[in-house]
């Protein structure tokens, strides 16, 4: 069962995880496991991680987010990170971290749209 520190909701075929708290490393670690288990349990083919509430993303959290996306990808699920604040983006790039290989979107709406478009490509209407 998810440890529940970070809520993970199912929206259609997409999982939405909204990070609203200042993250302890142990919360970060359990979140990664929770989200992968939820992907398997729900059979979701899209994952959105909303970080719009996060004022600080240090290198540890950034790596965790990127790795979660890579792990989800191995399972067959695409990840979009949405809502990164301007100061967070500036700080990560100044530190030399570019979140390579991770898809991002400005907002939750855009993230959902990205998943919807991908699903349409996978299953084009007859």
């Amino acid at each position: 069962m998810p440890s529940g520190a970070i809520p993970i909701l199912k929206l259609g075929s997409t999982l939405l995880a909204t990070i609203q708290i200042d993250l302890h490393d142990t919360v970060v670690d359990s979140f990664q496991n929770d989200v992968l288990e939820e992907i398997e349990r729900t059979g979701s083919n899209g994952l959105i991680i909303d970080i719009s509430a996060l004022e600080t993303v240090d290198s540890y959290v950034a790596r965790m987010l990127a790795n979660t996306g890579k792990m989800a990808k191995l399972m067959g699920t695409d990840t979009v990170i949405v809502g990164m604040r301007p100061a967070v983006a500036a700080t990560l790039v100044r530190m030399g971290y570019y979140m390579e290989g991770i898809e991002t979107a400005l907002s939750l709406e855009e993230g959902l749209q990205l998943h919807a478009n991908r699903l349409k490509q996978l299953h084009p209407p007859e």
Binding site: H24, D25, T56, V57, S59, T91, M95, Y97
Partner: protein, 132 residues
């Protein structure tokens, strides 16, 4: 000056939160707040991961009209054997990207490090608020 002991993982969050409160109280802009809280997070984690205990000191600096924040981290852990490599980046340990020190250095205006193998490490960083 304020001191926060680092002896549990949760203390990383405590240091980060106190730095965030002070930077907001002194009206640093959002980019400066993020830079300082991230630097505080990286350096506290270094203490926790490598030395398990240490002290964070936070000082508000005043120099004429200029306001800045100084963060000092002291531990008696293993020290850093290859400082040049650690500062060059890409030197990854178990819990970092290898960007802890090199990345932090790019976020602040001043960065001083004093380390000795077997004795410990002291890092002092300062960042000044931009004046307009």
């Amino acid at each position: 000056m304020e001191e926060i002991r680092i002896e549990r993982e949760a203390d990383i969050v405590a240091v980060r939160q106190r730095v965030r409160e002070l930077t907001k109280e002194y009206r640093f802009d959002q980019f400066e707040v993020a830079a300082l809280t991230t630097a505080a997070s990286e350096l506290s984690r270094n203490v926790w991961v490598h030395a398990q205990r240490g002290i964070a000191r936070i000082v508000v600096l005043h120099n004429g009209k200029k306001v800045g924040l100084e963060l000092e981290f002291v531990d008696h852990g293993p020290g850093i054997a290859d400082l040049n490599r650690a500062l060059a980046g890409g030197f990854s340990t178990s819990k970092s990207l290898g960007l802890g020190l090199s990345g932090t250095k790019r976020l602040v205006d001043e960065f001083d490090i004093d380390t000795e193998v077997g004795r410990g490490t002291k890092i002092v960083v300062r960042k000044w608020k931009k004046e307009f």
